[in-house]
């Protein structure tokens, strides 16, 4: 258990906030305020991206063209993905990083607070620019979030806005990552050794390195697209001697690590929550760290499994198939360790635990369909079908999004100082868990039956599963309103005050500070004594 000595949070100094809206929120350099800004922004983007998903599912509710023009449908699929990936999931994780990393490692703030402010405030402008393309003559991007040429080069002049907004998102992500790494490397409290850091901090450290490695690659790829469109270069233009397949290689060299950028922090959050509610230390802490690093390394050498059908040499296809399957090993280590953490634990099932268990079960389904897709020969059938859509949505929605929900419920009392309604939280989980499966499970069958992705109309044979999927989608979307209501009630309506250590089994520095966490924490570094044991590896020594 942890013990913190010599840290006084009762003085006024710890809780003085800047006066006025502008000073508090626009010019803020406080990691907690910037974390809140990121989280609010991400929630807003979830609903904008979610509204686009509703348009897609409404159009696909029955066969035939119903509500929107095919080109607008394509804009919706593209924008839905760009907004959910870059506007919702990634900023939400950066919000968690801002709030939690300094408190978890005993640092007074992020290492570079002013850059932190800038990292956030770039984002609203980037997304305003991206969304503005929907109102331009040439419309928004409609080539899918992968922006494959030559299709993406038919976007029209609004393409410049798309590329520039991606550049801005990339700059924001890189600055955020630099801040995370600089903070973890340099600002840990004395005694907080690397292998004592909470798993969430470890997963974010590795995620930040991934981001710095691959965001410049995406920036390079879209810059070359930009010059192909506006300056008559031929990087990817076959007519000028370029190679459109080269774009796919470059894009997925970014794109596959990007998948892990969205899921590694989820692994971290789940690794925090399961030990708390199982009242047992995390099983195999060191193995979890090494597994995370292994997954990150492997993510760089599997990119071409996204493009098995472009016509690669057999040796290449075999390499990417086996390398991809190798990822199942460290991922399996993680799932095994999560299950072992719960094994014979004194488990209780508060909302964060429900979402964390939901994550383990449903993410594993997404992982297994990923293994199916990794089989090159089988992928020739699955490629570009709804099976792929089902696969990555299982990884990202009951995977990354459920982990975000779990983390929010877990730390919301620490952020607000009040308890949320457990009854409504349970209802939110069960409705989400049911409807997310109604939404995405039928898509496996649609894909296996041959329904292509990114189409507004389909053969009548696919009608029943599409109707189920759309119903699940509408109900899953509506269920998320409970989440918003619950947060609003927790902040402004809840009468239940939260304790410092909100959860009985919680271990870690963040639980040593009062709830809500004072505006400034750990101005004086905490004393971490040797009884600060956070995982079973240390107990066994």
């Amino acid at each position: 258990m942890s013990s913190i000595a010599g840290t006084d949070f009762t003085g006024l100094h710890n809780d003085h906030k800047p006066k006025g809206f502008m000073n508090r929120w626009v010019f803020t350099t406080n990691h907690k305020d910037i974390g809140t800004l990121y989280l609010v922004f991400a929630l807003l983007m979830f609903f904008i991206g979610g509204a686009m998903a509703m348009v897609i599912r409404a159009e696909l509710f029955v066969p035939g063209l119903q509500l929107v023009e095919p080109d607008f449908f394509n804009q919706m699929t593209t924008m839905h993905a760009l907004i959910m990936v870059f506007g919702a999931i990634m900023p939400a994780w950066v919000g968690f990083a801002n709030w939690m990393i300094p408190m978890m490692i005993g640092a007074p703030d992020m290492a570079l607070p002013r850059m932190n402010n800038w990292s956030f405030w770039i984002l609203p402008f980037a997304f305003a620019m991206l969304l503005s393309t929907l109102f331009m003559d040439s419309g928004g991007p409609a080539s899918g979030w992968t922006l494959y040429p030559p299709l993406s080069l038919q976007t029209g002049d609004s393409f410049a806005f798309v590329v520039f907004s991606i550049h801005m998102m990339g700059i924001s992500s890189i600055m955020g990552s630099i801040n995370v790494i600089a903070t973890i490397i340099n600002m840990r409290a004395p005694g907080m050794t690397l292998l004592r850091m909470p798993l969430f901090v470890w997963t974010w450290l590795i995620t930040a390195f991934l981001l710095i490695a691959v965001m410049p690659v995406l920036a390079g790829a879209v810059t070359m697209l930009l010059t192909d469109y506006f300056f008559a270069t031929s990087f990817f233009n076959a007519a000028g001697g370029g190679d459109p397949v080269m774009f796919q290689h470059i894009f997925w060299f970014f794109g596959h690590p990007e998948v892990y950028i969205m899921i590694l922090p989820a692994f971290g959050v789940v690794s925090e929550i399961l030990p708390t509610f199982a009242r047992k230390p995390l099983f195999g802490y060191a193995a979890m760290v090494y597994a995370t690093a292994s997954i990150a390394f492997l993510s760089f050498i599997v990119w071409a499994h996204h493009m098995f059908t472009v016509g690669m040499p057999l040796e290449g296809e075999l390499f990417f198939m086996y390398a991809t399957m190798l990822i199942a090993v460290p991922t399996g280590v993680k799932v095994f360790n999560w299950v072992s953490t719960m094994w014979r634990g004194s488990m209780t099932f508060e909302t964060p635990m429900l979402f964390a268990i939901g994550f383990v079960v449903l993410f594993t389904i997404g992982g297994l369909s990923g293994l199916m897709l990794a089989i090159t020969a089988a992928d020739f059938q699955y490629h570009d079908t709804y099976f792929v859509v089902a696969h990555f949505h299982y990884v990202l929605v009951p995977g990354a999004v459920f982990a975000l929900m779990a983390g929010t419920y877990y730390w919301l009392p620490k952020w607000t100082g009040r308890m949320y309604s457990e009854k409504w939280g349970n209802l939110h989980f069960w409705l989400s868990a049911i409807f997310v499966n109604v939404l995405f499970f039928p898509q496996h069958y649609l894909g296996l039956a041959g329904m292509p992705r990114r189409i507004p109309d389909y053969s009548p044979q696919f009608a029943d599963f599409n109707m189920w999927s759309s119903l699940g989608g509408f109900l899953f979307g509506a269920t998320q309103l409970i989440f918003v209501g619950l947060i609003i009630h927790c902040i402004w309506g809840s009468k239940l005050k939260a304790k410092s250590r909100v959860w009985e089994g919680a271990i870690g520095l963040e639980w040593s500070v009062p709830s809500p966490a004072p505006y400034h924490t750990f101005d004086t570094p905490p004393d971490i004594d040797e009884s600060m044991v956070v995982h079973a590896d240390e107990i066994s020594h």
Partner: protein
């Protein structure tokens, strides 16, 4: 009991180190961007 104390000078030093870390990482990011553009241009 390990040494757990950190005075304000050390905090300043840590922030300076953090800035150095940040500059190095920014250079790495710029280098990767540059290499990809350069290989694109040379490859053409």
């Amino acid at each position: 009991m390990m040494n757990t104390h950190m005075d304000s000078n050390e905090l300043k030093q840590r922030r300076a180190n953090a800035r150095r870390t940040a500059w190095k990482l920014a250079l790495v990011a710029l280098l990767i961007f540059g290499v990809f553009i350069l290989t694109g241009v040379i490859g053409r």
